[in-house]
C-alpha cells in the first residue's frame, strides 16, 4: 500500500485497520481460502506501507470474463471456497464489507509451495 504524504493519516488509518484485521485473520495458513500474510510494515519517514503476502495471480473477475459459460460444478466449487473463507471471517466477529470478484484472488496450486516472501515485497515496491 502506498500513498502521498498529504493523505498519510487517512491511509495510515485504513492501513491500521487492515493490519488489525490481517493480524487476526491472515496468519500464514490460517485458512485455506484466506490469503496468507507474512509481514506488515511501514517504510520509515515515508507514506509507504507494505503488506508482504503470498502471490496470487488472477482474480475472479478475470476468471469469469475469460469464460463464456462456467460449468455448474465450477460454480459450486467457487462458491464453497468463497463462503467457507467468509464463514471463517464471520466466525471471528469481522465483516469483510467489500466482497467483489476482484477480491477473490486465485492462486494456482503450484505456487502454494513457493515461499513468496521476497517476491511480495519487491512487487509492492514496483507498484510504487
Amino acid at each position: 500500500m502506498f500513498g502521498n504524504p498529504e493523505g498519510r493519516d487517512e491511509i495510515k488509518k485504513s492501513f491500521e485497520n487492515e493490519v488489525r484485521a490481517i493480524s487476526k485473520l491472515c496468519k500464514s495458513n490460517s485458512h485455506a481460502h484466506i490469503v496468507s500474510v507474512f509481514r506488515l510494515g511501514e517504510v520509515k519517514d515515508s507514506a509507504l506501507f507494505y503488506i508482504d503476502m503470498e502471490l496470487c495471480d488472477g482474480n475472479l473477475d478475470q476468471f469469469m470474463r475469460d469464460r463464456a459459460a462456467i460449468e455448474l460444478n465450477d460454480v459450486w466449487s467457487v462458491m464453497v471456497q468463497i463462503t467457507s473463507g467468509l464463514a471463517y471471517i464471520h466466525s471471528h466477529g469481522e465483516v469483510h464489507r467489500d466482497i467483489k470478484p476482484r477480491n477473490g484472488k486465485t492462486q494456482l496450486q503450484t505456487y502454494c509451495s513457493l515461499s513468496s516472501s521476497i517476491h511480495g515485497y519487491s512487487k509492492t515496491l514496483e507498484n510504487h
Partner: protein, 484 residues
C-alpha cells in the same frame, strides 16, 4: 474443471469489527458499487451486519451462473427493490443447466438477495447449500443425483458433529438429534437448519416420522408414557416451512417401545397389554376404539408388509422361566396363507431396525447381539445363521428388501452387506459404525453413524462407494452448526 484453482479472500482494508455491544454491526458504509447491500446504501448510520457480505456473495453467484453482473450500480439495486419482482435467471443459463435447476437456483439466489438483512440467509447456511451441491456434483452417479434433486429431498453427509447425538434420520430430509439433552429436528435439504425444537418433550418422544402418502405431509409420532403424539408438518412447494401444523394429542394405553408402524395411510401400534390398534389417517384421523387384535403378552415388534397389505407383529409372554415369541399376521386385506407360529427364545438384547422383509415373507432375526438369522415367516424355511465376533448395532433390510445391512461396533467397526436371499456376504465397509438409516427408495444409499468421531457417513452400498465428511474435500473447512 478448474478444481486446482484455489480461491482466496484478500483486501481487508474495509474489514470491520463487530464489537460485543453492537454485534456484527458497523457503520461507515462503503463497499463497491454493484456489490453493496441495500442497507449499506440506504442508511449508513444505522449500521449493518455480516449479512452484507452475503448479499455480495449472492451477486457473485448470479454472475457466475449467468456471466453478467447482476447490478451495475446502486441504482439498479434500488430498481430491483422497488419493482418487487424476484430475480429471474435468463433462459440461456437455464438451458445450460437444465430446467430442474430453476426453482432451486432462484430460491437460493432469492435467499441471499433478500432486501431485509434479518431474513437473508446466513453465511453458514449458504456454505452448506453450496457444499451440498458441490459434494453431490462429485458423485459420479447422475441418476441418483437427479432423482434426489427432483424430489427436493437431499441426502447428505454431515461434517463433524461435536457434542451432537444423532437419534434418527427420517425420509432423507430430516435428522433428529440431541444437543445438551435438548432435541432438534434438522432439515437436511435446507442447510441443516433447525426446523423444530419440541418443547418439554423428552427424547423418548418423536420416535417416528413418516411421510403421508395422500398429502405428502410429514407426520411425527412419538409416545411419552401413555400418549401418542401426532404432529403434522406442512409442506409448501417442496420447501419445508416451519412446523405450523397443530400438535394433536391422542390418548392411548401404554404403547410398546418398538411397536409403532406406518404404511402411508395407517398407523398401527401395539401396547404392553397385548392390544394392537390401528388408526386410519385417510379417513380423517378416525380413532380405533377397539383393538384389532389381542395377544398374550406385550407386543414387541410390529411392521407393515408392503406386498400383502398385512400387518406383522410379534408378542412375547412368559411361561415360567421361558419366554415365548409369537408372530402373527393381521390382514388388512384377507390373506388365506397367513398363520401364526411360535418360537421359543431367550431375549438378551434386541436389535433395533426393520426386522420384517418388506416384500417377502422373511424375518430378520437376532437371537442375541452377535448372531443373525433369516427365517421364513411360516416357519417352513430356515437359513443358517451367521455368527459375528463383534456386536451388532443395527440390522436392516434395504427398502426394497434385496440387501441386508448389519452395522457393527466394538472390536470390529464396519458395515457388512449381505444378499438377502441367501445371506451371502457381498462386501464389507470398514471404519464406520453406528446405527444406520436408508436414505432412498432406490435401494442404494444409506447413512451410517455417528461413529466414534461423531461423523455421519453416506454410503452407496451397491457400488461399494463411500462418502465421508468434508474434511477430506480439498481442504475445505466447514464450520460446525451454530445453535444460537
Amino acid at each position: 474443471m478448474d478444481i486446482q484453482k484455489l480461491w482466496k479472500i484478500t483486501d481487508f482494508g474495509l474489514t470491520s469489527e463487530g464489537t460485543s455491544k453492537v454485534l456484527h454491526t458497523t457503520t461507515s458504509a462503503r463497499g463497491t458499487n454493484g456489490y453493496r447491500a441495500p442497507e449499506m446504501i440506504r442508511d449508513s448510520k444505522k449500521g449493518f451486519s455480516n449479512k452484507a457480505d452475503v448479499w455480495a456473495v449472492g451477486c457473485i453467484f448470479y454472475e457466475l451462473l449467468v456471466g453478467e453482473q447482476l447490478f451495475v450500480d446502486d441504482w439498479s439495486v434500488f430498481n430491483y427493490l422497488h419493482s418487487n419482482t424476484p430475480i429471474s435467471i435468463p433462459q440461456q443459463a437455464i438451458d445450460r443447466f437444465g430446467a430442474h435447476w430453476v426453482g432451486r437456483l432462484s430460491d437460493f439466489l432469492q435467499g441471499m438477495l433478500s432486501a431485509d438483512p434479518q431474513s437473508r440467509l446466513g453465511i453458514s447456511q449458504v456454505l452448506r447449500q453450496c457444499a451440498f451441491h458441490y459434494e453431490f456434483a462429485l458423485i459420479d452417479h447422475p441418476t441418483v443425483y437427479q432423482s434426489y434433486r427432483l424430489q427436493g429431498c437431499a441426502y447428505w453427509d454431515m461434517p463433524k458433529l461435536v457434542g451432537w447425538d444423532v437419534l434418527g434420520v427420517y425420509d432423507s430430509s430430516y435428522i433428529r438429534c440431541t444437543f445438551n439433552k435438548e432435541q432438534f429436528i434438522l432439515d437436511v435439504a435446507n442447510g441443516f437448519s433447525i426446523i423444530h425444537r419440541p418443547p418439554n418433550l423428552n427424547r423418548d418422544c418423536m420416535d417416528n416420522i413418516w411421510k403421508r402418502r395422500s398429502t405428502g405431509h410429514h407426520l411425527f409420532a412419538g409416545h411419552l408414557g401413555v400418549r401418542l403424539y401426532l404432529t403434522e408438518l406442512e409442506t409448501r412447494s417442496e420447501r419445508f416451512e416451519d412446523l405450523t401444523g397443530a400438535l394433536r394429542l391422542r390418548y392411548f394405553t401404554e404403547i410398546s417401545a418398538k411397536a409403532l408402524s406406518y404404511d402411508g395411510d395407517r398407523i398401527c401400534w401395539g401396547t404392553t397389554k397385548g392390544e394392537v390398534h390401528m388408526l386410519d389417517l385417510s379417513s380423517s384421523y378416525l380413532r380405533s376404539d377397539w383393538p384389532i387384535a389381542l395377544c398374550d403378552g406385550e407386543v414387541r415388534h410390529l411392521g407393515f408388509h408392503r406386498r400383502d397389505k398385512s400387518l406383522l407383529y410379534r408378542s412375547t409372554f412368559k411361561n415360567g422361566k421361558t419366554t415365548f415369541a409369537v408372530w402373527r399376521w393381521y390382514n388388512v386385506i384377507p390373506n388365506p396363507n397367513a398363520r401364526e407360529f411360535e418360537r421359543e427364545t431367550t431375549f438378551t438384547s434386541w436389535i433395533s431396525g426393520d426386522l420384517f422383509h418388506p416384500v417377502l415373507h422373511h424375518i430378520l432375526f437376532c437371537p442375541n447381539d452377535r448372531r443373525l438369522e433369516v427365517r421364513d415367516i411360516f416357519g417352513e424355511q430356515y437359513w443358517e445363521g451367521i455368527h459375528f465376533d463383534s456386536r451388532i448395532v443395527t440390522v436392516a433390510y434395504s427398502p426394497c428388501g434385496g440387501y441386508i445391512l448389519s452395522s457393527h461396533m466394538y472390536i470390529f467397526e464396519g458395515v457388512h452387506i449381505f444378499d438377502a436371499t441367501n445371506l451371502r456376504r457381498l462386501h464389507t465397509i470398514e471404519d464406520i459404525g453406528g446405527p444406520l438409516w436408508f436414505c432412498d427408495e432406490r435401494n442404494e444409499l444409506c447413512l451410517v453413524g455417528p461413529d466414534g468421531l461423531k461423523r455421519l457417513h453416506l454410503i452407496n452400498f451397491k457400488a461399494e462407494r463411500r462418502r465421508v465428511g468434508f474434511e477430506h474435500l480439498h481442504g475445505i473447512a466447514v464450520p460446525q452448526i451454530n445453535l444460537s
